[in-house]
Symmetry: C2
Subunit: 408 residues, 2 copies
Amino acid sequence: MIVQKYGGTSVGSPERIKNVVRRVAKYKALGHQIVVVVSAMSGETNRLIALAKEMQAQPDPRELDMVISTGEQVTVGLVSMGLMQEGLKAKSYTGAQVKITTDSAFTKARILSIDEQNILADLANGYVVVVAGFQGVDKEGNITTLGRGGSDTTGVAIAAALHADECQIYTDVDGVYTTDPRVVPEARRLKSITFEEMLEMASLGSKVLQIRAVEFAGKYKVKLRVLSSFEEEGDGTLITFEEDDKMEQAIISGIAFNRDEAKITVRGVPDKPGIAYQILGPISEANVDVDMIIQNVGVDGSTDFSFTVHRNEFDKAMDVLKNQVQSHIGARDVVGDNKTAKVSVVGVGMRSHVGIASKMFRTLAEEGINIQMISTSEIKISVVIDEKYLELAVRVLHKAFDLDQEPA
Amino acid sequence: MIVQKYGGTSVGSPERIKNVVRRVAKYKALGHQIVVVVSAMSGETNRLIALAKEMQAQPDPRELDMVISTGEQVTVGLVSMGLMQEGLKAKSYTGAQVKITTDSAFTKARILSIDEQNILADLANGYVVVVAGFQGVDKEGNITTLGRGGSDTTGVAIAAALHADECQIYTDVDGVYTTDPRVVPEARRLKSITFEEMLEMASLGSKVLQIRAVEFAGKYKVKLRVLSSFEEEGDGTLITFEEDDKMEQAIISGIAFNRDEAKITVRGVPDKPGIAYQILGPISEANVDVDMIIQNVGVDGSTDFSFTVHRNEFDKAMDVLKNQVQSHIGARDVVGDNKTAKVSVVGVGMRSHVGIASKMFRTLAEEGINIQMISTSEIKISVVIDEKYLELAVRVLHKAFDLDQEPA
């Protein structure tokens, strides 16, 4: 049993839907039971949001979900028709019909439960079941949506509920790469990657999969595979919930990066409890998302507190700090730089290998690249550098960790 | 309590929806409880059907309903947002959410029941309730649609279920006229018309209201009013379920007509039981709708059998008769004419007034118009004539029955 999820680009026109239909038919002919989860046709959700904004400056979330959930509903009908045209039995479901029960947080609902009985019965009767992604229904019967990219989450959740053998996410790339091939032409498609690595890669800017979907897959042990919907061949990248045989595992899986990083440092902060909250509380209230946070050990009762934000929110964050925070906490100064970038090496292998960090730092130093901030997790080391060195840094790290070579 | 139904043209753009919102707000300010029933934005249903036909030559009815029901779902969300923008409380419902239970005849479902509890509770709490027309849900939870123009039926059915004081149908004409003003400039808007007359007018080509909606309203005694959604003033036409004070009632309410009539005569048919079925059975099996049917008393064991069909189906009907029926029943000949038209005078007053038919026939004779077929009901007299005389016939009959004058 396979769940296949197709994004908006893959179903963006009747012609493209016919490609999806042909692939589904091919898998069906191999004897698989297939559930197809689809997004709205590309452009449709934005068209509906624009209509909504013409009616109400801040569209009411319940009514917005009522409107935008129609995008996927149209696609499931069209895909089912296409499958029938090919001689297959097919049946479409909205989220409410499945039913995919969510909380009532309109426009960003969370899935609470999935009733899998009807789908299982249809599969047993030879149907291809086509489910609308991105949507559900709350306990009062209101239509909800899961937020942008929620179709991936629907795919994974359906696969979990059905105990499917694999959840295939079809997208416009053919897998997860060691880094962005536009920066490093030698970048290699990974045959597999662990969930933890994928989480680090996704949150660091490799926008292949919704991070929520990956978390969901990890939690429910769903085998996920990322594939291209525009290529006939290729096995994509399998996202596994167990580390493969360590001997064959590369130490580092990939180099992730993020161009849009801006760093801010609050200098001369009194080194006492609660100070981090006093700095980040007002930032959070201003709806600014914070990425890396670094605080070094203090000297003489005073310390420096640094963090990074998205470049678009740099001015807002600086404003909050200078006007609301600095004098309030008695900090000496607030300085920032919005011409920075973040580069990370990611790999579960670094758990059992020492020397990754020193190799990374040495490689950058040999190119004269100054490291401005460092942050580490168990399977990732991130550094903030001047943005003008970003491409160079990614290239030399990719080479230094032999990512252009298939692992032995 | 008022149910207001707005058609596709009335909600065809955000600007037009804002006009709807202003009218609803005006009625709400007068203290009414309001339920709004809306169609898909004009053009949307056709766009969705075209998409469906690109996927499947004959779109599967269940899947087609899945796709086209989204049109109304978008509108209810947009209307609710518009109402909120004006400061009103509003809540939208799909047919399934109401729930409007139908049979499972996809694309032409019939309403079985309506659950009015949630709507009544919302109205009591001060909400304007906005319901998607044209759609419902069957007992298995499949989305159904009621067929073209089904939104009128939804409006009337909701009004019946809620025991609303009036169901207002907003359309692009400002009421029901004595005849088509494009043919007779002196045509006059009727202040009221009975359900029976409206049924005859509608089925005869005055396409103001869906005939099913009128039947429904008559059955459940719903007060219906047809109004223009593009004019601020005007009381439209009230469709009553009781004849008003007879003294003030015109004998004839209007002149209906139909340009697209084709007549067919099977000549020299053996005059014996079962012959009508032997002729019309194969016609019905070929999915040809028959309008008027006329059979005169036979002479010498043989008779002529005539009926009319839509002009587009003339060739198909002739084909069936000549190839399947004629020799089988031993008829002498099959002849037809697809250059005919039907003109009818309609009025409940003719029940109690003699001489209507003779006045009609004399009026036509005075203009040299030959009557080819005649059919009558209790409140209608229809004649088939050469189509080139259609406009002339309508004009002279309109004048002869004083329809350009307000009734005394």
